[in-house]
Symmetry: C2
Subunit: 743 residues, 2 copies
């Protein structure tokens, strides 16, 4: 073993020589047991026995075996570090996946080829790693050595240390010493010293760093690493894993950066928690903060849409889903550690995978034993946001079950740090397993090197984060908080009420956003209604603005699909397109049409196999603008997507709208029915700080009235007086048919 | 029975009173057997026995039963006729489907509720039909009475007469007399007299008319109707079914309007042919014209893309597929009548349905008996076009099997009547089950009432039919034949060669289009190449233009997806968009970018999970234009789709391009590899009327040369002299690696 090289490297690590010297002088300290950090020999034996009996386990073993056998058939490559999304970057990522799985398969099968593979690859890293410099291509990030950012190297170590733990007993002491001294020790040193910023950061990147350090500490027998991982490099508890558990989740387990990052953040949280549980069960990590890890998993999977994808809140991909590996890990561990909740089996079925340890085996067994194939489906649910639960929240109303649910979601929580968008009170609407009103998500092509090295594109700031890119009102053409993140992080929206009980056909939620625009307070109330008169659930949307002065209010609808019919004279621009504005995201929208309807606005479009009609109450001076993204996008970084917006200048205003799904269309079978809406009109009967009352009229004259309590939340009865009439209702929000003489 | 009403109606029928009077005076003539026109009692009994044993049969019976039971549970409605795509229109269409299936189910199950349903609905029609006037909403069409166009009424009768035949024996003589006198006789009278134009038309609408009349003639015992259906109203054979069989298909069975209309046209062809076979087997209809019906079915299904959809040639939907009911019918009848070809079982499996008669039963049995689940997959194939087979053709090159095939298609046949597009030498390219280079198809929303009554939109003429809407060169900004259909119908492109043998890795096809532009002749040669150096098949495209004078040549690429990288400085227009031109379809394209690269043009985009790069040889003065549809589209009738075009002014010119699929991208798993192409350059070494020689160079310096014989087709050896060098090859097209010293 090249001890001299290793020592040189080790001595170059600042602030840390003593511990490592001890390590080198004495033989590497023997641990009581390997493997242990993620799986034990007896769990592996149980999996070996179970093989062939459980669908989910077999699918997982098959995928792992296929990957590792392909790796065994190819030469081991540890190329010089390269750019994000480039070959070397992807190769090193693939290497950790292969070592992780090869290690587990060695334990499960006893096939020594797998152990030899991990050994050989690690010895190859041991030759390369000590000579590596900090990666030259980092940008505003802590660099790694194999990767441009420390994050990737943390992820590499979390997985590799599990693989190493699995093959530990198959290596000679010399091999272990070489690998540890040339790879793991210098890497951890880099993380704890040059990477101290990340170690101490309250952020998902910080969680990866502490998980890597802590898990390596357990496997290599370095309790000091574990302490620093748990409580920060100064061990005072103001940073580190425990503090992350305190601050990154709301008391409901909602992760402050939103579900897309939650699926990634919970990965290291669970890896490290599981390691802690295995080595130091006395810490009772799973019981910490009233079982916050359990809540974190539920809050993550329960945001999922009917097709299993996460709503694209904040900087998020449109297609990330519940089968992400961090969610598989968390699902299995929660099932094992908190008691076998059968609803998690539906999640596991969607994932079609389990982790390869005792927890995964338990899930695979229970899945097989279930009386019927478990289905992943969630009821309406609200999550409080903010570490103290007082930072607003996220409301999700659902009608129906499983894949055919209709879902309305409103975002009224905290900003969410650097990945937050200026989108308070934004709504999303899902139907037919489609995004009907969608969020653009991020402007990024992850790992696609020609697209800005796979990083966030400039348009992520100039478009995706801006208020106009969301389904929420824009005041005076500016983004909320004028696009200032610090200002946004310092505030949050406020929940007003949430009623997710579907039993009476009317579910509702309401929230306020105050202070996001100077002098303008906003309240949005959304009802998701099942009524026998309509084929599908209705979305009723009352967006109320309150100000002492007149402002320009833009109410955007980010629809998808093809316009079908309008109540107003639709005349798209034929000869020239210009951007809708100059900044705050408007510079990215080509204005494709403009109209000024002084009557009820109806706009129908076709999306998938259903028609949708927006019907908005008339208001004097309302303009309808249509647009399409793509302006000021010289490198074609944005998707080309349509939107419609209603614009009105007013002081107090209520955008009162219904979105009605209707009819059926199949291009393939050339069938169409009910391409016209049933609703004919929406009228505002009155609104103020105490209540909003709106009337909906159908084509055949049937009418309904909608009542919303804008004052302090409560069941009432509530009373409002508008236009000389008195309206009375119970509950925060109600909708009821108007019968002749009952008005 | 209201005989007086019926007689009034019948007397009002011109040129035809005598026959009908006889019918009314005598009892309706008894046929020897009911049912017979589509199914017999013994076939029905066999299906009854087979129930529960065959997947495809059970799926069909289940769907039919579900439809009919739902119909039985609802009131029978025969509303006053209404507009296309409106409620009444769709109701009458659904009524014939229900009567057809109820009749068949009655025969199969013996359940008299089904017979009563058909009876009751027909009696209700008998009350309504005699009083109907010609439909007031027909436009440039022969009107029906139930429907705005005769076509729908023909389709109604074809299916209803089958249902009626099935329940015939369950009706009383009075019921039969009422139905026949008030519905079938006046309807057929309308078809044969006011509808004589359609009866005598060589067109798919004409086939529906003659099928309806002829099948009704068989069921009602009116041989005169059959004669006129077969040979035209004057029975001279210049019109009618037999003449349609002569003229509407090429000798290869290719239907002149293309596959989308073929799937619809073969439906009445097979219904009527089967009826003829059952009543008059001595006519040997299935043997007619060397088994043209068999060829018609094969030519239809063999155009299908890997996902089962038809290529969107001419006026066509993008999603119509092989499961269309006419194709199900033809598949089963060909299997039964021409001998059981196992490849048709793959088609039946895709359809997941059979027809409910003996032929369908035979297919369901054979499908079940097959050793493995049959897969629908086709080899490379060329179809000659034109009734005499001398009208050019359609070439389809394929690599791989089943759903993962890569397909290149070129269109070089006849114009195709009123549904033809000005798109000679257009190519399509399919990969990953996606349209990579696509055809816009039609501008139409079939049966969607708010979209122009579901008819072809004005933009079908101004955009979809125009040359620029296709992947073929546009000369001087004009469409082929200057967009004149009659001129286009009078000519056709010419096949040069077609080599669909995949054994040497190089498949190729070449065709000429002469006279489509005055003074400009065009030749296009397409190679689909498998080479170990590339992960996926390459599309090599050599589009040659020859003229004495300089012209503007536009080479469009209708890609889909998001631009990734370009070899030239890509700077999309940021502040203003204007249409690319004023007419010939250019008025519908917003110009989104313009560049002038004097070097090799490379353009990479992401589509689905793969990257694609177009590499085109440099030529002085080449402009690159990018665009997006939507200009001059005030009602948003067009889909918003991107395109790229290379523009050059020249007399003789060769657009020498390679489209290279490469790499992998998964948004959901955030993986990307090889986002950059392997090909670095394409160079033209020379081209003239005898040959084209092109060189391809990869990033690592590897080179290949491509040789195409432009002179009379033949295996050669061929020789060409360009730039002082002599090139020799065999076969019409070849590609081979360049080894040092072998040039």
């Amino acid at each position: 073993m090249p001890v001299s090289v290793a020592m040189t490297v080790l001595f170059s690590a600042r602030m840390w020589g003593v511990v490592l010297l001890l390590v080198l002088v004495m033989p590497v300290r023997a641990q009581e047991q390997h493997p242990k950090v993620f799986i034990t020999a007896s769990e592996a034996a149980a999996i070996r026995e179970a093989r062939g009996h459980y669908t989910l386990l077999d699918a997982t073993l098959e995928a792992a075996t296929e990957m590792v056998e392909a790796a065994l058939a190819a030469p081991i490559e540890t190329p010089p570090p390269g750019e994000a999304g480039g070959y070397a970057h992807e190769r090193h990522k693939q290497n950790y996946r292969e070592m992780y799985h090869a290690g587990l398969l060695y334990q499960i099968t006893g096939d020594r080829r797998y152990a030899a593979f991990v050994r050989d690859m690690l010895l190859q890293y041991a030759e390369m790693y000590p000579a590596l410099e900090p990666h030259p291509l980092s940008e505003n990030q802590v660099p790694g050595k194999l990767f441009h950012q420390l994050l990737n190297e943390n992820v590499w170590l979390v997985h590799t240390i599990i693989g190493y733990d699995c093959v530990y007993d198959a290596l000679t002491p010399d091999e272990r010493a070489t690998i540890e001294a040339n790879v793991f020790y210098p890497m951890v040193s880099w993380f704890m010293n040059e990477g101290a910023y990340s170690m101490n950061r309250i952020h998902n990147h910080g969680t990866w760093t502490v998980a890597a350090v802590g898990m390596a500490g357990y496997v290599l027998g370095e309790p000091e690493w574990v302490e620093q991982a748990l409580y920060g490099t100064d061990k005072r508890g103001e940073a580190g894993f425990m503090r992350q558990l305190d601050l990154l989740f709301s008391p409901d387990g909602y992760y402050m950066e939103g579900p897309y990052y939650a699926r990634y953040a919970i990965w290291p949280f669970f890896y490290f928690a599981e390691a802690i549980q295995r080595y130091e069960p006395e810490r009772n990590i799973y019981g910490y903060r009233d079982g916050i890890l359990r809540k974190a998993l539920y809050a993550t999977v329960q945001t999922a849409l009917p097709d299993g994808t996460f709503p694209a809140l904040n900087d998020a991909s449109l297609s990330m889903n519940v089968a992400a590996p961090g969610v598989v890990l968390a699902t299995d561990l929660v099932f094992e550690r908190y008691g076998p909740d059968p609803v998690l089996l539906g999640v596991a079925g969607f994932q079609n995978a389990v982790v390869l340890n005792g927890a995964g085996l338990a899930v695979a067994r229970a899945y097989e034993a279930a009386d019927e194939v478990p289905e992943m489906t969630w009821p309406s649910v609200e999550f409080r946001d903010g570490a103290d639960g007082e930072g607003g929240g996220l409301g999700i109303l659902r009608v129906g079950r499983g894949k055919d649910q209709t879902v309305a979601l409103m975002k009224y929580g905290v900003h969410g740090l650097g990945h937050g968008h200026f989108d308070k009170l934004s709504i999303l609407f899902y139907d037919q397993r489609r995004d009907v009103l969608d969020d653009y998500g991020f402007a990024r092509f992850v790992n696609v090197e020609p697209k800005y090295g796979g990083r966030y594109l400039p348009e992520n700031d100039t478009w995706a984060k801006q208020t106009i890119a969301h389904n929420t009102v824009v005041v005076d053409g500016r983004s909320q908080n004028d696009g200032d993140r610090k200002a946004a992080d310092a505030m949050h929206a406020d929940r007003h009420f949430f009623d997710g009980d579907p039993s009476d056909g009317v579910q509702s939620m309401s929230a306020y956003a105050r202070g996001y625009y100077t002098g303008v307070d906003m309240q949005r109330t959304v009802l998701l209604v099942e009524d026998e008169a309509f084929d599908y659930p209705l979305l009723i949307d009352l967006f109320r603005l309150e100000s002492d002065a007149e402002h320009q209010y833009d109410y955007p609808i980010h629809y998808d699909g093809i316009p079908m019919a309008t109540s107003f004279d639709l005349a798209g621009h034929t000869d020239v397109l210009r951007p809708l504005g100059e900044d705050a995201g408007y510079q990215h929208i080509w204005e494709t049409a403009r109209a000024r309807p002084d009557a009820v606005v109806q706009f129908s479009w076709l999306d998938g196999q259903r028609y949708y009609t927006l019907t908005t109450a008339a208001a004097p001076g309302t303009e309808v603008l249509m647009g399409r993204t793509g302006a000021h996008d010289p490198h074609f970084n944005l998707r080309s997507e349509p939107l419609l917006l209603l614009r009105r200048r007013a002081a107090d205003h209520l955008f009162a709208s219904v979105i009605e799904p209707h009819g059926y269309f199949s291009e393939a079978s050339e069938q169409s029915s009910n391409a016209r809406p049933y609703i004919a009109a929406v009228r505002v009967l009155g609104f103020d700080a105490t209540a909003s009352v709106v009337e909906i009229e159908a084509q055949d004259g049937r009418r309904w009235q909608v009542f919303v309590n804008n004052g302090p939340a409560g069941d009432g009865p509530h009373t409002a007086h508008f236009g000389g009439k008195t309206y009375t209702w119970t509950g925060n929000a109600e909708m009821r048919p108007v019968r002749d003489g009952t008005e």
